[in-house]
């Protein structure tokens, strides 16, 4: 059995244990809503408030977070001040690949995404806020990288099917 690229429940568990405020975005958010496209990491938008960065740093220390490089990972001093100094962190953790994106393309960050987000239970009561599929599409449309554009037809089709199920098509 190949090793899992990330363990969403373990990462969420560590974040919740330390009281981190965050919204799950990207591929995992889309999958939770029915997207058929796999992803190899979990993307998260944390609240950038100082107290939350302290909590986030504690969770990352517990997860043994390191900077993720193409062929290795590199330790770095994980604390709130360091985390505040960068808008994107690409990390390798004991629970797999984790990206922190404080202001995803086309959004104003945590508060903006929190409005449309909903709670998902990832098992054993480990709930987390997940960005709406409409917001995931907004981010990918704005980021406009080739890999984002390639995913849009499947994401739009998923949204259309969700609307049909809601009786709103």
């Amino acid at each position: 059995m190949p090793e899992l690229p990330y363990d969403a429940a373990a990462i969420i568990g560590a974040f919740r244990k330390h009281g981190v405020r965050f919204v799950i975005i990207g591929g995992v958010a889309a999958i939770a809503q029915g997207s058929p496209l796999p992803t190899e990491d979990i993307d998260v938008t944390p609240d950038p408030a100082p107290d939350n960065l302290e909590a986030l740093a504690a969770a990352l220390v517990e997860l043994k977070a390191e900077l993720r490089m193409p062929d290795a990972s590199v330790p770095f001093p994980v604390d709130a001040k360091i985390l505040a100094g960068n808008s994107v962190w690409t990390l390798s953790t004991s629970a797999g690949a984790l990206d922190l994106v404080f202001q995803p393309a086309g959004t104003a960050g945590y508060e903006d995404l929190r409005r449309g987000a909903f709670e998902v239970d990832f098992g054993s009561g480990r709930t987390a806020a997940v960005a709406s599929l409409l917001d995931v599409i907004r981010m990918k449309e704005t980021a406009n990288r080739l890999k984002d554009r390639a995913q849009l037809p499947a994401l739009r089709q998923t949204l259309e099917e969700i609307r049909k199920r809601e009786g709103r098509s």
Binding site: V28, G34, P38, I137, R168
Partner: protein, 107 residues
């Protein structure tokens, strides 16, 4: 809901409130809300005007219809959100493993 979702996406990308967009297009905020809820569908021309007011352009192209994702989406819908994520973690792991094997066989 396609027009409703497109309109909301464009407005949010522009960072506008419904009232701000309404002022730009000289309509009422409640009309914008009705369009975004999907209660009323705007014409294609009106949708284009609304999206332009957000500083974006609604592109048009005709492509071959492709519903190949539908069975996979419906398969995902049969699972709970947590099960979907767990299932896709395993799919991603298999993909990574296949890539690793392919690289090894080429080396």
């Amino acid at each position: 809901m396609i027009s409703a979702d497109l309109l909301k996406e464009a407005r949010l990308r522009a960072g506008l409130t419904q009232a701000e967009l309404a002022r730009r297009v000289k309509r009422s905020q409640s009309q914008i809300a009705r369009w975004e809820r999907g209660d009323v569908k705007p014409s294609l021309e009106t949708l284009r005007e609304l999206i332009r007011a957000c500083g974006l352009e609604l592109g048009f192209e005709l492509a071959n219809y492709d519903d190949s994702y539908l069975p996979l989406i419906h398969q995902q819908f049969r699972l709970s959100p947590a099960e979907r994520v767990r299932h896709m973690q395993h799919v991603a792991a298999q993909m990574i493993d296949l890539r690793r094997r392919a690289r090894a066989s080429l080396a």
